[in-house]
């Protein structure tokens, strides 16, 4: 079995290629020392596996994402690298390629987007490029799958272990002397010594840490400074890393002069025309808001809800009848029947009916990511985000957080500035995720029938506004910034491919389905048992059960917020497992056979104002268990994890209280 690593710049069609080359794939848990999952696919020929790395511009990392990728390349075992290169941006992409070649592992170059390069008037002599770099070059169009067979063949035929003669660039006499000096001092047995030295002088923090563990760090620091000063006075550059990047650029330009011809001036008219509208001076933000509004319309009113109703009808019609027949025919006990219908059907079924809505939302988020609009949103929002101490890029995790907070928080890895990243991580849970959507769906269906989309949108806006206010508060108190950073590549617009879109939608949404089978299943059984048992024995009336006792304690604290019932209290405790469990709990507590019946019952227990206050509390009160877990992993700090739980509770209480007070003042009750 050979292991191949897929590496390349962001937006080069890496995921498309990954999807065409692999039949199946899975996420494999943490690497040692790095708290990240890796995506491992099985190659179609079945002869090996392919590991997808985060996109990176250079082996010298700036963001956490890039650090993960370069750390992987340096320390994990693999046989060869499949480097995806955007042919229409060859010069920039080769910067990474050359660094990978210097590293010396066997490499295959997949030249993607040959069609775009051709449109832009670039003619690339792949044969010549292959000779110049000393590696095999395969032109591909990842979107259509063209050339993927050749890539597959080339990877699997590659005899593992045939290391290349490391590629070498001359960085000028002055620097080469320093490189030689460093190599001379390296301990015996250091792998890829020249590459290590080159990366050290370029300022690669991962390499530097690795060298410092084996060598005198004061000496290394002196060596670096001497080299930088020498280069500075000789060439008039500002930093060593700028100088080295320039040397490499000149080398690459030299290569390209031999194998690339420009036949005409390139045009970006399609993207340019779209951009003229969607990032317009005045229309940019309104268009974005309109887009979000349409998203909610699609999710709730136009497509999602009708599908949910169909699924509800199926679960509580044929499926329930079938199960009843089955249980009757095997003569099941009443206890088992109660467990299955009042516990599992109510709990799991009540959540599963929201799957269509959630998939529609994930589909739209995937569309935003794949089309290239995401980067524009970041750009349009940057000014506003800067005012609150963040940058436009931090808006991206927040939008992904609308789908699910967990991938949203992980997406914060692309934010280069550590404090901005931390702030984004602790604020992303305020984004209303799809699990909370199931709670809103339930409540707006009862209390706000005529303007469902608008009421739900108001909750999303509430989350965003609070995130902005708290960002301002935190960034000017506990998380003071040194320097903010915003550089975003605006990729050309592409019409997303159905295959990639459906795959990434499924990838995001399957967690929700899996949760229904695990967490929610277990939670439902537990909740039902707690409601079935009480201090005075089994099969007690619901309000004498353990669940009522526990929920009652919480309920007392919640009385000022307008929903101080034991039912609400119990739902909130269980909602920590996963927010959609709130729906399961309510189904079980109110012993509702289906969603319509539950809505009828809830109408008697809440007023519209209390319902709104309750929804706001659900939105804010505590990130769910999975989110708390990922906050812990990503921040690597128990303190910040506790902080994100506690501030959320305080904010939830204050906001819900304010809603009730304002509502009452306006004459609602």
């Amino acid at each position: 079995m050979t292991v191949t690593v897929l590496a390349g710049n962001p937006n080069t069609g890496k995921s498309s290629l990954f999807n065409t080359l692999t039949g199946s794939y899975e996420y494999v848990g943490n690497w040692a020392g790095v708290t990240v999952e890796k995506k491992v696919g099985t190659l179609k020929a079945g002869k090996g596996s392919l590991i997808d790395l985060p996109g990176l511009y250079s082996l010298n990392p700036l963001s956490h994402d890039e650090e993960v990728a370069s750390r992987f390349l340096m320390s994990e075992p693999f046989d060869s690298i499949l480097n995806v290169v955007d042919a229409s941006q060859l010069e920039r992409n080769l910067n990474l390629t050359v660094q990978l070649l210097e590293y010396g592992k066997p490499l295959l170059l997949a030249l993607n987007m040959m069609d775009v390069a051709k449109q832009n008037g670039l003619v690339i002599d792949t044969q010549r490029l292959s000779e110049l770099l000393g590696v095999q070059v395969v032109p591909v169009v990842a979107r259509s799958g063209k050339g993927s067979d050749q890539v597959l063949e080339a990877i699997t035929d590659h005899a593992p272990g045939t290391a290349l003669e490391p590629y070498s660039i001359w960085y000028g006499d002055t620097l080469e002397k320093a490189v030689a000096e460093l190599i001379g001092q390296m301990p015996q047995g250091t792998a890829s010594p020249r590459w290590m030295a080159v990366q050290f002088f370029e300022g690669n923090s991962v390499v530097r840490t690795s060298l410092e563990s084996k060598m005198d760090s004061a000496w290394l620091q002196r060596l670096y400074q001497t080299a930088e000063e020498a280069v500075r006075s000789e060439f008039g550059v500002r930093t060593l890393s700028q100088y080295m990047r320039k040397q490499r650029a000149e080398h690459i330009q030299g290569l390209l002069a031999h194998c690339v011809r420009h036949t005409k001036e390139g045009h970006l008219t399609f993207s340019e025309r779209i951009d003229r509208i969607v990032t317009d001076k005045y229309l940019g933000i309104p268009i974005f808001l309109l887009f979000m509004y349409l998203t909610f319309k699609l999710t709730f009113e136009w497509i999602g809800s009708p599908l949910s109703d169909l699924l509800d009808a199926f679960i509580n019609g044929p499926l329930r009848d079938g199960t009843t027949w089955l249980l009757d025919s095997i003569g099941a006990q009443d206890f088992i029947k109660a467990l299955i219908f009042d516990g599992i059907f109510a709990g799991v079924g009540g959540v599963l009916v929201f799957v269509p809505q959630i998939f529609i939302l994930f589909l739209i988020i995937s569309f935003i990511e794949d089309s290239g609009y995401m980067a524009r949103i970041a750009s349009v929002m940057d000014r506003l985000m800067e005012l609150v101490g963040l940058n436009g890029k931090t808006f991206i995790p927040m939008i992904i957080g609308f789908g699910c907070n967990v991938p949203g928080i992980m997406a914060a890895r692309t934010i280069e500035q550590p404090k901005e990243r931390l702030l984004t991580i602790i604020l992303t849970p305020l984004m209303s995720c799809s699990a909370r959507l199931s709670v809103y769906s339930l409540f707006v269906g009862i209390f706000f029938k005529s303007n469902q989309a608008l009421v739900v949108l108001s909750l999303y806006v509430l989350g965003v506004v609070l995130a902005l206010v708290l960002a301002k508060l935190f960034s000017s108190t506990i998380l003071k910034q040194q320097e903010s950073m915003f550089v975003v590549e605006l990729p050309p617009y592409r019409i997303p491919q159905w295959k990639t879109l459906s795959r990434s939608t499924w990838e995001k949404g399957k967690g929700f389905v899996r949760k229904a089978g695990t967490f929610i299943f277990g939670g439902s059984v537990l909740i039902w048992l707690l409601s079935y048992m009480g201090p005075h024995g089994w099969n007690v009336p619901m309000d004498q059960s353990f669940l009522a006792k526990i929920g009652g304690l919480i309920g007392q604290v919640l009385t000022p917020l307008g929903f101080g019932t034991w039912q609400a209290g119990a739902a909130l405790i269980t909602g920590f497992l996963a927010k959609e469990v709130v729906v399961s709990t309510m189904n079980i507590i109110y012993a509702a056979p289906d969603t319509a019946a539950l809505q009828g019952l809830l109408a008697g227990h809440f007023t519209p104002l209390q319902a709104y206050s309750f929804m706001a509390f659900i939105l804010l009160y505590v990130p769910c268990l999975a989110t708390v877990g990922v906050i812990r992993k990503e921040t690597m700090s128990a303190r910040w994890t506790w902080f994100s739980v506690l501030y959320a509770l305080v904010v939830a209480y204050v906001i819900s209280y304010a809603i009730v007070l304002i509502g009452r003042a306006l004459g609602y009750h």
Partner: protein, 75 residues
């Protein structure tokens, strides 16, 4: 002159990347934008928002305050 002062779509050459913010400078370098690169401005967002640069057929959005520190010359 400063990068922010040029007309839309007029190509100019970078003569000095005097960014105070090293992170920004590094990232621009990664994207192949350095002294000697030809760039033009494609868009300015309102209220002092970011500007969109074009260099070698790629579009990059950076903040105005950083663009102010990049010096360019006419070609």
């Amino acid at each position: 002159m400063k990068l922010t002062e040029i007309e839309l779509s007029l190509p100019v050459r970078i003569v000095d990347m005097a960014c105070n913010n090293q992170l920004v400078c590094r990232r621009l370098n990664d994207l192949g934008i350095m002294e000697g690169t030809l760039v033009s401005i494609k868009k300015r967002l309102p209220f002092g928002g970011p500007i969109t640069l074009e260099a070698g057929n790629q579009w990059i959005s950076i903040r105005r305050c950083e663009a102010l520190q990049i010096l360019v010359e006419a070609v």
